[in-house]
């Protein structure tokens, strides 16, 4: 079914156009922990108009822009030139694993007092304690 998806949707791992462009001009640099594939122009060819090599990502599954981890984000945006796969970066123990934007999912952040957070209405003005018979 992937071939049919590539005809009609761009949000599931790219279109046929992207696929063929990547096959002809792209060079795989590496994969991140989510399975997203990162490419650059083959051999690091400089783009004549931009003046630097082009880098792109083909997402695994749904194309969620925020699912690029921090290290790959830096490489993708030309902040660094060494891809994370060539680096030996050890995260500190206080660093949490990277998560994509969870908005719109059940893991979305719910602020204090939100009904979705606890399933219970927080205390509000006008509340009272009702008496219940002990016997």
């Amino acid at each position: 079914m992937i071939w049919l998806q590539r005809f009609f949707s761009w949000w599931q791992g790219g279109t046929w156009n992207t696929f063929w462009h990547t096959r002809r001009h792209g060079e795989l640099v590496g994969h991140d922990e989510f399975g997203n594939a990162y490419y650059r122009t083959r051999g690091g060819k400089i783009h004549p108009d931009l003046g630097f090599e082009r880098r792109w990502v083909i997402y695994k599954g749904e194309s969620e822009g925020s699912s690029t981890p921090t290290g790959w984000f830096g490489w993708l945006h030309h902040i660094v030139d060494t891809p994370p796969t060539d680096e030996n970066y050890q995260p500190r123990e206080w660093q949490k694993p990277f998560r994509a934007n969870q908005t719109g999912t059940p893991n979305a952040w719910r602020p204090q007092g939100s009904l979705y957070r606890s399933g219970q209405r927080p205390a509000a003005t006008g509340d009272y304690e009702a008496w219940t018979p002990g016997s």
């Binding site: 006008g126 509340d127 009272y128 304690e129 009702a130 008496w131 018979p133 016997s135």
Partner: protein, 686 residues
């Protein structure tokens, strides 16, 4: 009368007026912090400076300067006072700058914000920046009890609180130590305040140094809806302002009524608000197989109707409690009468007051304001400090004015004024009469419930009526016979005749098996013996609810509009500030609906119609805020009653001031106050 000219306006004021009062007479507003109409003059804030022509060439504190001390002009023209001259403005700005030097910029986190005298007056006299680069002084906060929170950095040393405790409350709890910048207001050993009026110091504090502790950081004054109400915690009927936010009563403040409470209210009146949120009855309950289960109104009414069918009319009875409104009692009375019964009583404490003795026999006939005209007072079987702290403050006010002899028969207590002690029991009445000179112009006798709730209460009442006659307390233009009630509903109940009719049972008889079906309207201070089927109409899960077979949830006093009659017979109307919780309804509406279920439909469909019926039956309820004077002749008839009394000493009716009714017993703040009082007002563990 003295003439003087204030800003070009000529006013004629009594010579004993201060300049500040004279300026107010001329319609000029004088800023002030330390001056308070009901306290002595301190003159230490200097904010009320005015310019006096012909006086010393410096501004004068108008609160401390008397009109009679002013000199007229060279040709005898009236003295001239200026309140808006450049000199006055500059002087007040200087004073304000000095006050603000040591006042923290706390307004955004201060509960007084929005109702702060300093904030308001800084708008008029403050400058936009400070020339003071040094550190502000820091003062440690003091513990002064569970009701008042201190934030002593904010204190501007006006000493209003010190003067209030010394003069009005009469306990001298607070004082100032240190001098100048180092002056600190404290209760010396950081004990809790012992006064029942201590909450008022948070009201008179012009800044946020003293704040009501239970309302700490809970609300801002501008988000509150203010509703005029009447207090039901004691029989004084203090005028209150009920502040609500949404459905919740946030706080209760006094309203000024010089005839009743001046501008003070007791701590119970003020801080009982959290009791309105706890232990509330919010749905009907029906007892089935010995257990109360939640029910619908229809089920509850059906259960009552089924029981009423099996009970003979003379076995039906009604009790009314201490906090209910006149309308509720009137509706219940109509219902019970429609059912064919005469068993009803509003005197759950068993006081021997009865309509047959005439209305003067249960009123505070002198009136509360009338205490200030009295020359002598005898207190019998009462501790007014616990039973009616605001009224006690009025007695103390009269006592402080001098030439006021006070006698006491009953339990000795610290009443905040000196008194001569005549004895503990009723036999001391004769001794008192023999020792009392006959030429006192306006003597008063104050009869407490401690003297009337005894089995021989009627005899004691007659003996005191006779004593009142013998010492000349009842004469033209002066009625010195006073009954001090402890229940807000009592006078109203007696006024509408909520007492046993011909052959009817009294409260004691009804609670001890005299009736088989008992409608208990909020009477929680009485134990009902097993056997009777009790329908409890009330607000809180207290003694009455535990004994009940059917519970119908009613509205507490801020949640309904109602008439209350205070101990002096003043009819006062309270407005509805909030709504009853859950399924609870106003009492009169419950009885109207119940009457339909019992097949004895009451003839009114709205509170307005009920009030019209009430006024038709008892015309004096049509005159709100007025006292219908009672005929003093009935006291003479009462005095002739005579009888032999028991020699037992008079007891007390209020053993714990803070826990006298179901609302107060549900309140955590009142429980804390009670614990602090029981522990001797020692310092709280920190």
């Amino acid at each position: 009368m003295t003439k003087l000219i204030v800003d070009g306006i000529e006013v004629d004021v009594p010579a004993e007026f201060t300049l500040l009062q004279a300026c107010e007479q001329a319609g000029k507003e004088i800023p002030r912090f330390c001056y308070h109409e009901r306290l002595s003059i301190a003159g230490n804030c200097r904010m009320c400076l005015v310019e006096v022509k012909g006086g010393p060439p410096k501004p004068t504190a108008s609160c401390a300067m008397s009109v009679r001390d002013l000199r007229p002009g060279p040709n005898g023209e009236p003295p001239v006072v200026l309140t808006n001259s450049p000199m006055v403005k500059k002087a007040r700005e200087g004073v304000m700058e000095f006050i603000l030097i040591n006042h923290p910029l706390d307004c955004p986190i201060c509960d007084q914000g929005g109702e702060c005298d300093l904030q308001d007056q800084a708008m008029a006299y403050g400058v936009d920046s400070s020339r003071f680069a040094e550190n502000k002084h820091a003062v440690t906060d003091k513990y002064i009890g569970p009701l008042v929170k201190t934030s002593m950095n904010r204190c501007i040393h006006c000493t209003r609180c010190v003067r209030f405790t010394a003069e009005i409350a009469g306990t001298s709890d607070m004082g100032a130590i240190g001098r100048g910048e180092d002056m600190e207001i404290t209760t010396y050993l950081q004990t809790a305040m012992t006064s029942e009026l201590s909450g008022n110091i948070a009201d008179i504090c012009p800044v946020g140094a003293l704040l009501p502790k239970p309302q700490n950081f809970r609300a801002r004054p501008w988000e509150l809806n203010k509703t005029p109400g009447v207090d039901v915690m004691d029989a004084v009927g203090s005028n209150i302002r009920i502040d609500t936010r949404g459905r919740e009563v946030m706080r209760i403040l006094p309203r000024v009524n010089d005839a009743v409470n001046e501008e003070w209210i007791s701590d119970k009146t003020r801080q009982v608000v959290d009791g309105l949120k706890r232990q509330r009855l919010d749905r009907p309950y029906v007892r089935e197989n010995g257990k109360l289960r939640p029910a619908s109104w229809t089920e509850a009414f059906a259960a009552i109707a089924a029981r009423a069918k099996t009970v003979a009319p003379e076995k039906i009875g009604a009790l009314a409690g201490d906090l209910v409104s006149v309308e509720e009692m009137f509706a219940l009375k109509q219902l019970v009468e429609a059912l064919g019964s005469r068993n009803m009583d509003c005197r759950q404490d068993g006081a021997k007051l009865h309509p047959q003795f005439g209305r003067a026999s249960w009123l505070f006939n002198t009136t509360i304001a009338g205490i200030e005209q009295a020359d002598a007072l005898l207190i019998v079987g009462s501790n007014p400090r616990r039973e009616a702290p605001v009224l006690n403050a009025r007695i103390r006010k009269r006592w402080r004015a001098g030439n006021f002899a006070i006698g006491l028969i009953g339990e000795k207590a610290d009443l905040t004024y000196d008194y001569a002690y005549f004895g503990a029991g009723p036999e001391s009445i004769a001794e008192f009469v023999s020792k009392t000179p006959k030429d006192i112009a306006r003597p008063m006798i104050l009869v407490g419930q401690g003297a009337l709730t005894r089995p021989d209460g009627a005899v004691v009442l007659a003996a005191l009526a006779k004593a009142a006659h013998d010492i000349g307390a009842i004469k033209d233009g002066w009625n010195g016979f006073n009954v001090l009630h402890t229940a807000a509903a009592r006078v109203g109940g007696l006024d509408i005749g909520f007492t046993p009719g011909e052959g009817g049972h009294c409260a004691t008889a009804m609670s001890n098996g005299g009736v088989d079906l008992l409608f208990n309207l909020g009477a929680d201070e009485i134990d009902v013996a097993p056997g009777a089927y009790v329908v409890y109409i009330g607000t809180h899960g207290d003694r009455g609810a535990h004994r009940a077979d059917v519970i119908l949830p009613g509205a507490a006093y801020p949640e309904m509009s109602g008439l209350y009659v205070n101990t002096e017979g003043r009819v006062q109307r309270s407005d509805r500030a909030a709504f009853p919780p859950g399924d609870a309804r106003e009492g009169w509406a419950i009885f109207r609906a119940l009457s339909d279920a019992l097949g004895r439909k009451l003839p009114f469909d709205s509170l307005g119609e009920l009030r019209a019926a009430l006024v038709a039956a008892h015309p004096h309820f049509g005159h709100v805020d007025e006292i219908a004077p009672a005929d003093a002749g009935s006291i003479k008839d009462l005095a002739a009653l005579g009888g032999a009394f028991d020699k037992a000493p008079f007891g007390h009716v209020v053993s714990d001031f803070y826990l006298t009714n179901p609302i107060a017993r549900a309140s955590a703040v009142m429980a804390e106050c009670s614990a602090v009082a029981a522990g001797g007002y020692k310092q709280a563990a920190e």
